[in-house]
Amino acid sequence: MSRKKIRVLVAKPGLDGHDRGAKVVARALRDAGMEVIYTGIRQTPEMIVEVALQEDVDVIGLSCLSGAHLELFAEVMDRLRQKGMDSVKVVAGGIIPGEDVPALEKIGIRAVFGPGARTPDIVAAVRRLVTGE
């Protein structure tokens, strides 16, 4: 029996246009059989949460390479909570120094994938978050 497809929103909050990683991840998730929505660059936290709500996604993958991740990811998490979307799992990637990972985990981000992360690991992590397996 086929399970409902996992729905993932890949989103780029902030102003940086470095979308190579986000697009590679989006494509790898899609090739792994997931339903992927990619927002494009320069999205505000409001826009991202709005799309996540409309598209009824299971997971949001946030990508930021400008160094604005702490502020912007926190705002996404706040807005998700305000909308009662606590069941949506959030993962992140980009140029994120290791020392910031605990702070991101504290606000509820489930996994952080830095430079050199492998897409099979990202796919597996997303799947595990949704299915709990």
Partner: protein, 551 residues
């Protein structure tokens, strides 16, 4: 047709050897997919006239370099790109680099400055001072260049959508220092087409953006004759995942579009083409990269002469800046990056670059520390003064392999340019998402090759060991953004509001009409109008551009 001696060697020597010791992988390819052969001999260049192409340095078609003496005359400009969270801190770094023997400045601006938002805009949240220096008004530029006479340095500014504003500020500041704008030396990136393809910091639709570009060409021709009015950039296209061939082809296709736009505005090709400059990436494959730089020079000379009928040899010279490939830096085993950067920098020098930025080993994490940026600059100095490669012109010229690859890359790029022509030129192709899709395909293929371990990245998918993370990372705190906003508010309080309103009105009027917008930008910046105010005024006139192809 292989010569007799080569045929015999292949049959009697190579064949038996391959039977006993097969090659270590099924085939060897360049990033562009072009095959690289086991051996190159004169047979690979049969029928080629090397006297014609690459020719001789300093004359058409410039395959061996744009000057007759190249680095025997003057070394390339060592230009480290940097910009910190505040104008004060950036100013300190610029002075430090100049003291260390750097020969040109290169300014990194933060994203709000690049996208036309003031530091207190809600859209600038979290971004102020993160990837470069924030500039809201002329006041920030005054601090940024404190103690640096603008007529004594050459300054490169990585600025595109807001290029006319930052150029106007630079001119205004020079005037205040008492410098003659005609003596100003430097470059603005001002390349909006690659923003649509790869880098993402565009504001307005292509039509008005290209109009601002040509306004700068015209203004500089009159007032800043030594200024490089554009740096047509393949760097970001390559960083986004393009192959070497795509980098050359898409960059030169953009170049064609700028030349066409200027000619359509009534400019004479030889009046502006000599001020065009280029910006390329230096990736890891040394031989492919050297051939790439030479191929780009040959192709551009051909395009300018044959397509645009340029008469002045300077119009046919492809002058370029190089940066080593940021995308090849790894967070794993970061000190390996120093070696990668050295190899890439060597490729740029062997390829005849006019200026060079070497990346710092900690850049996979953050803006470089002083220690890391010093090591990067020293890498260039070792190449320049110790390696010997700067002591003769085009040292690899005439090598069978290099000449063959130069021809192959030029031919493959020429085909891509023909394809873009058939789509209606670079802009029409961008609107269809052609270049973006090609780059995405290449980047995904590259990632799969790395993950399948067909492509080795030392320390990432082979020779993996635990490693020490870099300490002393450069961090930007929220306090610095608050200071910037405070300075902005002070300027807003102290300036003449009436003069700002009048200058903005004049800017909108110029934007709606046909006249050159540069004088209106100058009037705005001199009245301490903010970057955000000017861009908002232009957004009303021009509208804004959305992403052409998302995924």
């Amino acid at each position: 047709m292989p010569g007799k001696r080569r045929e015999r060697w292949e049959k009697e020597v190579l064949g038996p050897a391959l039977k006993r010791f097969p090659e270590r992988q099924p085939g060897f390819r360049l990033t562009s997919g072009l095959e690289i052969r086991p051996l190159y001999t004169p047979d690979d260049l049969e029928g080629a006239d090397l006297e014609e192409s690459p020719g001789y340095p300093g004359e058409y078609p410039f395959g061996r370099g744009i000057q007759p003496t190249m680095y025997r005359g003057r070394l390339w400009t060592m230009r480290q790109y940097s910009g910190f969270a505040s104008a004060e801190e950036s100013n300190r770094r610029y002075r430090y680099l100049l003291e260390q023997g750097q020969t040109g400045l290169s300014i990194a601006f933060d994203l709000p400055t690049q996208l036309g938002y003031d530091s207190d805009s809600p859209l600038a949240r979290g971004e102020v001072g993160k990837v470069g220096v924030p500039v809201d008004t002329l006041r920030d530029m005054e601090v940024l260049f404190e103690g640096i006479p603008l007529d004594g340095v050459s300054t490169s500014m990585t600025i595109n959508a807001t290029a006319p504003i930052l150029l106007a500020m630079y001119i205004a500041l020079a005037k205040r220092q008492g410098a003659d704008p005609a003596r100003l030396d430097g470059t603005i990136q001002n390349d909006i087409l690659k923003e649509y393809i790869a880098r993402g910091t565009y504001i307005f639709p292509p039509g008005p953006s290209l109009r601002l570009t040509t306004d700068i060409f015209r203004y500089c021709r009159q007032n800043l004759p030594r200024w490089n009015t554009i740096s047509i950039s393949g760097y970001h296209i390559r960083e986004a995942g393009a192959t070497a061939v795509q980098e050359v082809a898409f960059t030169l296709a953009d170049g064609i579009a700028y030349v066409r736009a200027a000619i359509d505005k009534g400019l004479n090709v030889d009046d502006f083409a000599g001020r065009l400059s280029f910006f390329f990436d230096a990736h890891n494959n040394l031989l492919e990269e050297v051939a790439k730089f030479r191929a780009a020079r040959l192709l551009w000379a051909e395009i300018m002469k044959e397509r645009f009928g340029a008469k002045d040899p300077r119009s046919c010279m492809l002058r370029f800046h190089t940066q080593t490939a940021g995308c090849t830096l790894t967070a794993q085993q970061p000190y390996n990056n120093i070696v990668r950067v050295a190899v890439q920098a060597l490729a740029a020098v062997l390829g005849g670059t006019q200026s060079l930025h070497t990346n710092s080993y900690d850049e996979a994490y953050a803006t470089p520390s002083e220690e890391a940026v010093t090591a990067a600059l020293r890498t260039q100095q070792v190449l320049a003064y110790e390696s010997g490669v700067a002591d003769t012109v085009d040292p690899l010229g005439g090598a069978w392999l290099v000449e063959k690859l130069t021809r192959d890359i030029a031919a493959a790029a020429r085909q891509y340019i023909q394809k873009i022509d058939s789509l209606g030129g670079a802009l029409a192709a961008i609107e269809k998402g052609f270049q973006q899709r090609e780059v995405q395909e290449s980047s995904y293929r590259y990632q799969r090759e790395v993950e399948a371990e067909e492509r080795v990245i030392v320390g990432v998918n082979k020779f993996v060991t635990p490693y020490t993370k870099i300490e002393k990372l450069h961090r930007v705190t929220a306090g610095e953004a608050r200071k910037q906003v405070a300075r902005l508010n002070k300027v807003r309080r102290e300036r003449d509001g009436g003069a700002v309103a009048a200058a903005l009105e004049e800017l909108q009027k110029a934007a709606r009409g046909e006249e050159n917008t540069m004088p209106a930008f100058l009037r705005c910046v001199e009245a301490y109008t903010t970057v955000g105010e000017m861009c908002d005024a232009l957004r009303e006139v021009f509208g804004v551009q959305r992403e052409f192809l998302i995924f």
